[in-house]
């Protein structure tokens, strides 16, 4: 694949204005699928959560999941959208092996929610107001596995296998209006926007919101135009952006790629592109043939949705606080500086820390553990921090043990490792591995005496008041105690002992 040429980012932003548009698909965590009673679960044997409807068998008919409607309305309300007086389902017709009916039951010109707005804060602190075009309901397609090609990709595959367990899972598609004026912060804005959507749907309880699981998916539309030009540039749509980091990188990449092409006088092709995280680049997707003519028409097997005003107000009353408000509240509550708080937010650890504090930990301690050791471990294992096998409650327990002096930082890190390895709860691990801080002065004194007797000159120095000499003793004692001593206490005892003798 030929490598794209990229214009320098700053140069690109000097010459061109960036317009972005974001489409986010949210997978709802209802018990059943959108249009049938099959279980909405991940990971079961293929084609075991299927029925005539989600398999597209002849004669099958859809039946709407009322909970999904409720969840969709809640998402709309959380985005300050207007809820449709009449929402209608429509068929989006196209052929693909993972599409059981060869049409997707979606919504077209009568979506359940539209005309919303959300404020997004980027790392620099600037706040953008993003206009929401619509939020509509649709169903997911099945899962394709490509066999025979390299790395399981579609190119060069010999054949494909289809599992329809995922087919029919409820999705809500949220579409922004074109976002102008983000300038060089467009990539950060895109990521921050998706982060906020994740937060919203997670706090609403309507989605597990795990990007690595595909619960939240983002397609990023990017176009640029020469500064001062009114006419919008041709936009590309980039798919396969599976993480917030990818969104930022992909948007930035497209800006640079398009800028280079335009500067050479080459037109931008309107197309769908794929993001490749490993390469850090987008590539051209399949050329669009007839895919654009979806021949939408109202779904004749389903009747319109006309949510009553009472129901909408009932649902509105159940909404949790908006992310922006929640963040302000938490920052104040925890007493974090702007920098500290932003770090937490940008690391996507807001919920983890919130839960850890709720489980009893001090906010700073919670922050320290999550943004420090746990983030480091996740990084080194190339995992998402959410994938680590530890709960906020367990982290709170560890923090409490350190606070109470039962564990040193070093010991605590060992306990952490034990939890992550699945050895059990912190208390269990301490017992099993015998990791408790030796707070028994007797044992400490024994070790100290031994070292002091081996280092009489150090003993002299301490007696003379050269307390820094104690360092060597402390080190030796710590080593002898295998790190299970509290260093501060050892120092106290060393000095006490030395001056005693």
């Amino acid at each position: 694949m030929a490598k794209d040429q990229l214009m320098d980012y700053q140069k690109a932003l000097e010459a061109y204005e960036v317009v972005i548009g974001l489409e986010v698909h949210v997978e709802l965590n209802t018990n059943t699928k959108m249009f049938c009673g099959c279980a909405n679960v991940f990971g079961d044997e293929p084609n075991t959560n299927v029925c005539p409807n989600c398999l597209g068998f002849p004669g099958a008919m859809p039946a709407v999941n009322g909970k999904a409607i409720e969840n969709s309305i809640k998402i709309g309300l959380a985005l300050d959208c207007e809820i449709a007086a009449t929402g209608r389902f429509a068929r989006k017709n196209y052929f693909y092996p993972d599409l059981a009916k060869n049409f997707q039951t979606s919504q077209y010109d009568e979506p359940i929610a539209f005309e919303g707005t959300i404020d997004i804060e980027v790392p620099s602190g600037k706040v953008f107001t993003v206009a929401i075009e619509r939020a509509h309901m649709e169903e997911d397609a099945g899962k394709l596995t490509h066999v025979g090609g390299s790395t399981g990709r579609i190119q060069g595959a010999e054949f494909s296998l289809v599992d329809f367990n995922r087919a029919g899972v409820p999705l809500v598609e949220i579409v922004t209006k074109p976002i102008y004026g983000a300038g060089d912060e467009a990539p950060e804005l895109a990521a921050a926007y998706v982060r906020s959507i994740r937060e919203i749907v997670k706090n609403l309880g309507v989605s597990d919101a795990r990007m690595e699981r595909g619960n939240v998916r983002c397609d990023a539309n990017v176009s640029i135009r020469p500064k001062g030009q009114e006419k919008l540039g041709t936009r590309t749509e980039t798919k396969n952006v599976n993480s917030l980091r990818s969104i930022e990188r992909a948007v930035k990449y497209e800006i640079q790629r398009q800028a280079h092409l335009l500067s050479q006088g080459t037109a931008i092709i309107q197309e769908t592109r794929h993001w490749h995280e490993d390469r850090g680049a987008t590539s051209s997707g399949r050329p669009k043939s007839d895919a654009d003519d979806y021949r939408y028409f109202p779904e004749p097997d389903l009747v319109p949705i006309q949510p009553s005003k009472e129901w909408i107000e009932q649902l509105r009353a159940t909404l949790p606080e908006k992310p922006a408000i929640r963040r302000k509240r938490l920052q104040e509550l925890w007493g974090f500086s702007d920098l500290e708080f932003r770090d937490v937010v940008n690391s996507d650890l807001l919920d983890e820390i919130d839960d850890t504090v709720k489980a009893g930990a001090k906010p700073q301690a919670a922050r320290k553990w999550w943004t420090g050791e746990l983030a480091r471990i996740a990084n080194s294992e190339d995992k998402d921090i959410a994938e680590l096998a530890i709960t906020p409650t367990q982290v709170a327990q560890i923090a409490a043990l350190v606070e109470g002096g039962k564990l040193t930082d070093r010991l605590a890190r060992e306990v952490l490792t034990g939890v992550l390895a699945g050895e059990g709860n912190p208390e269990e691990i301490i017992a099993k591995r015998g990791l408790e801080v030796v707070s028994d002065d007797g044992a400490l004194l024994a070790a100290i005496d031994k070292v002091l007797s081996e280092q009489p000159d150090v003993l002299e120095k301490i007696r003379e008041g050269k307390l820094q000499a104690a360092g060597a003793v402390i080190g030796a004692v710590m080593k002898a105690m295998d790190g299970s001593a509290d260093a501060a206490r050892v120092r106290e005892l060393v000095i006490q002992r030395a001056t005693e003798k």
Partner: protein, 499 residues
């Protein structure tokens, strides 16, 4: 009189009083099928073993004194576009040859719950597209009245089976007249219930906003009992009516039409109709007037656009409904030569698996929905529906039921209308408006046309949810006619010579 000629409600009584067993009845029915079907091709598949097993079970339960439903033990034929567990379901198409559904249509579940042995699956135009069964991939069915003629379509298999005593009654489906037109040309009774009165779950969809399942029988009471057995709300069908429409069986006991206002639809009389058809139709009306009914004239000007609207809406919905036949999950798979992509396999499969009429309508429907043409075609056609509903609403202010000949002609010859699809579409001119509007319609036999001695049907229409009105007037008219003839319509049928 042979047990084969008896009505379903008579058979039901005989079974209840143990005058006959279900096994005897079913066996006699199967023997007749074995005799006639090779020639008539009414059935695509005959389920001998299954039917007899079901019959045996009913007899055993009855012997034990179990309380059984009215139609228990009466065997029935099922149109082959309704899914049946364990029984091949083809929709009259090559693309579904050999497909055995893993689930039952709701109406089939009901039939089984009523313990009616299923004799087999009847022939139809492919995917119910047609008016003669000549579009079936498995050959046409023949009209027992004249073996050179078609029994109508799409449900010609059910109507020819019932008309030739190969089944006491049958299930059909009606999208533009597929129950009513075959009824008219075979001298049987066919009813399309109000849209939503009967579940469509398991009916292989043609035009989703037009389709309904309904009874195909030899008389009005049988149709009433069968509609009662299959109707009702179904949570698997979001368009099914939440409420019951009441008992059609009770309605069919009606014996008076005094004061009944019958509206003749101006646009469905006159020149376009075979004179023998108009004659018998008029006589039927005279009988009703003599019995105290009142005739009023109504006009539905929007009917002139009905066929056009229908032949946009139905192909459009069908083009989408039939997209699922793609070789992936069930049905035919044709592998083109060389290394083919799945798209090529789909395209080759659909080319070979679908017949010409189906392909034609899919392409037409795709056109009607395509970008740039939606407003002019599909969109406009859906607006015509609004006009038709408005005209009918006005008409029903003046009349309790509306009436017309069911079809412009009597049964036509095999091959007669194959050249010109448009000519075939015109058969439906009187039946289509009911599907567009969602209102119920019944065709019942009113005599033989003098030109050709072939059956003529009259169609009654009622407002949505007022299906009972059809059975009320139908029962009375039928009684008068049978009194006049001193026999029933099918007694006029010539003896069938199949060997």
């Amino acid at each position: 009189m042979s047990v084969l000629n008896k009505s379903a409600h008579e058979l039901a009584s005989m079974l209840a009083s143990k005058e006959i067993s279900s096994v005897e009845l079913t066996k006699a029915q199967l023997d007749n099928i074995d005799n006639l079907n090779p020639k008539l091709n009414s059935y695509l598949i005959v389920t001998h073993e299954l039917a007899l097993a079901q019959a045996r079970e009913v007899d055993e339960l009855r012997a034990k004194g179990e309380k059984l439903s009215a139609l228990a033990g009466v065997p029935i034929a099922v149109k082959d576009n309704l899914t049946t567990i364990g029984i091949e379901t083809t929709a009259g198409s090559k693309i579904l040859k050999g497909w055995v559904p893993p689930y039952n249509a709701t109406v089939v579940e009901k039939v089984l719950a009523h313990r009616m042995p299923i004799l087999g699956k009847t022939n139809l135009d492919e995917f119910a597209m047609g008016s003669s069964t000549e579009n079936s991939a498995y050959g046409p069915s023949l009209n027992p009245w004249d073996l050179a003629r078609t029994p109508g379509g799409s449900g010609g298999g059910s109507s020819s089976a019932v008309a030739s005593m190969q089944a006491p009654l049958a299930l059909g489906s009606d999208t533009g007249g597929s129950i009513r037109f075959p009824a008219a040309v075979t001298g049987t009774v066919g009813v399309k219930p109000t849209y939503g009165a009967v579940s469509r779950y398991g009916l292989i969809a043609l035009g989703s906003s037009l389709d309904q399942v309904g009874p195909v029988t030899r008389n009005v009471m049988d149709a009433a009992m069968l509609q009662d057995a299959i109707a009702g709300h179904d949570q698997m069908d979001a368009t099914s009516l939440p409420e019951s429409l009441g008992s059609m069986t009770e309605a069919a006991k009606n014996d008076s039409v005094k004061g009944l206002k019958i509206g003749i639809i101006k646009e469905l009389t006159g020149e376009g109709f075979q004179s023998g058809v108009s004659e018998r139709f008029q006589e039927a009306l005279d009988l009703l007037v003599a019995a105290g009914a009142e005739i009023v004239e109504v006009s539905c000007p929007s009917f002139q656009y009905a066929i056009a609207a229908y032949y946009l809406i139905q192909p459009a919905e069908a083009s989408s409904n039939l997209a699922r036949f793609d070789s992936v999950r069930f049905g035919l798979r044709v592998m083109p030569e060389g290394a083919a992509t799945v798209e090529k396999v789909m395209a080759a499969t659909r080319e070979e698996g679908f017949g010409a009429e189906v392909k034609r309508r899919i392409i037409l429907g795709t056109y009607a929905l395509s970008s740039g043409y939606y407003d002019a075609y599909y969109g406009s056609a859906q607006k015509v529906r609004t006009l038709i509903q408005a005209d009918l609403a006005k008409a029903f202010e003046k009349a309790d039921v509306l009436v017309s000949p069911t079809a412009p002609t009597t049964a036509f010859l095999l091959g007669e209308k194959q050249e010109d699809p448009l000519a075939m579409y015109l058969n439906d001119i009187a039946t289509i408006p009911a599907n567009l509007a969602g209102i119920p319609g019944m065709s019942l036999p009113v005599g033989l046309a003098s030109e050709d001695n072939l059956p003529v049907g009259a169609q009654f229409l009622a407002p949505a949810r007022q299906d009972a009105r059809l059975y009320k007037v139908g029962a009375v008219l039928e009684k008068f006619l049978e009194n006049k003839w001193s026999k029933s319509m099918l007694d006029f049928a010539p003896e069938l010579k199949v060997n």
